[in-house]
Symmetry: C2
Subunit: 259 residues, 2 copies
Amino acid sequence: MKKSKSPLSIVLLGSGNVATQLGIELKQQGFHIAQVYSPSMRHARNLADTLNSSAVSSLTKVNKDSDLYIIAVKDDAIEVIAEKLRLGNKLVVHTSGSVGMDVLKSISVNRGVLYPLQTFSKQRRPDWEQIPLCLEANSPMGKEMLAGLAKKISHEIAFIGSSQRKRLHLAAVFAGNFSNHMYAIAENLLMKEKLPFRLLIPLILETASKAAEIGPAKAQTGPALRTDNKILKKHAQMLADEKEYQKLYASISKSIQNI
Amino acid sequence: MKKSKSPLSIVLLGSGNVATQLGIELKQQGFHIAQVYSPSMRHARNLADTLNSSAVSSLTKVNKDSDLYIIAVKDDAIEVIAEKLRLGNKLVVHTSGSVGMDVLKSISVNRGVLYPLQTFSKQRRPDWEQIPLCLEANSPMGKEMLAGLAKKISHEIAFIGSSQRKRLHLAAVFAGNFSNHMYAIAENLLMKEKLPFRLLIPLILETASKAAEIGPAKAQTGPALRTDNKILKKHAQMLADEKEYQKLYASISKSIQNI
């Protein structure tokens, strides 16, 4: 276990949205990003420049003397890295919601997960303090190091096993990706009438805030909940030329009534 | 057309979420709420007390000398009121997104719509300035009076015909009710693992803000968009005991890929 007061030295593997935002936040909190790895040297260098770090594009050049290795890449790419990287007993974690911790078995005896439950993009700086960090580690040393790091960047940290984390990720697909797709369908429906999406923004923001405050079950309103069959039928007719949306409308309305 | 400087005198028919929040806002903006009508005297009195107004529970007691009559009741109840209320040439509007203006034909020759595109509850005070007010009126006098009133309560007013308004309402069902249902499904999925819904709140708020800022098409992420078939399959397996959610997961994922 790291006892000295010098900041942890971290190697960041990945250069996408999560790697970028996590790297920026770690640097801001005083951690030293020793290296940024990406198979694309251009991507590695881009992020390394932002983080005052050095770039490598080959796994053989990843240093062996850092304190923590964070693999923040697409799920499938974790395995590709695991096939080649060997780090003995160094703490190695990935940031995926849907991949078990043991995919890292071949890399190190000390492994873990740091899954930030949020949607990331390269341009938007997230408010890390509010982001739930779901942690897992297979050793007390790993747990302590991860918790210490996580507490510096968020108020909401929780140790959660791989199976619960996968459930969280599945729930996040509904709450994030799928709710966003409902917005996208709405945008499409408006475009056909040349109405601007802007008109829906206050509703979207209020729906999210209301669910956050009182919970989605209590917050629900609308024709499906009231079983207003007249409107449900009208809407089905209005979607006669958009069969896919018509089917979704029917099945989501039914699901609202079943809850 | 009203030329005097005395505030408009308004009769509010309804005592639900829309009537309550609209009544409070109109009073705040200096309008005089002359009467509140509800078939339930208790409901009428409740809201009338809040608005320093008088309560009536019979349509025959609705006064005939106000400037504007706002019918803010459930869609089906508009027709019930229209069967009985006769107001000559007074301006009468309803607040529904999905009902045509002409349902008010029997009440008055001057009719219109004031549809606030937002979700309302009795407890939450909405930010009226941001709420799009979709207006319609069948006379220049009605248009002028409605626009004057609407401008006092919101920055976002637009005259929109009945057919476009219905489309907007349909889009709002997707963007509001259906996105909220995605949160509700997520909450259910977490409950089964005894995980708190709270963990999803930052994701929900960020998803809404991001879509508002860059539009939902650009904001989309996740396994369906990336056609990450491994995760899509895993998630289908995880939902084996929740067939309804499994079907929704599949059809929404497919729809994300079709967009």
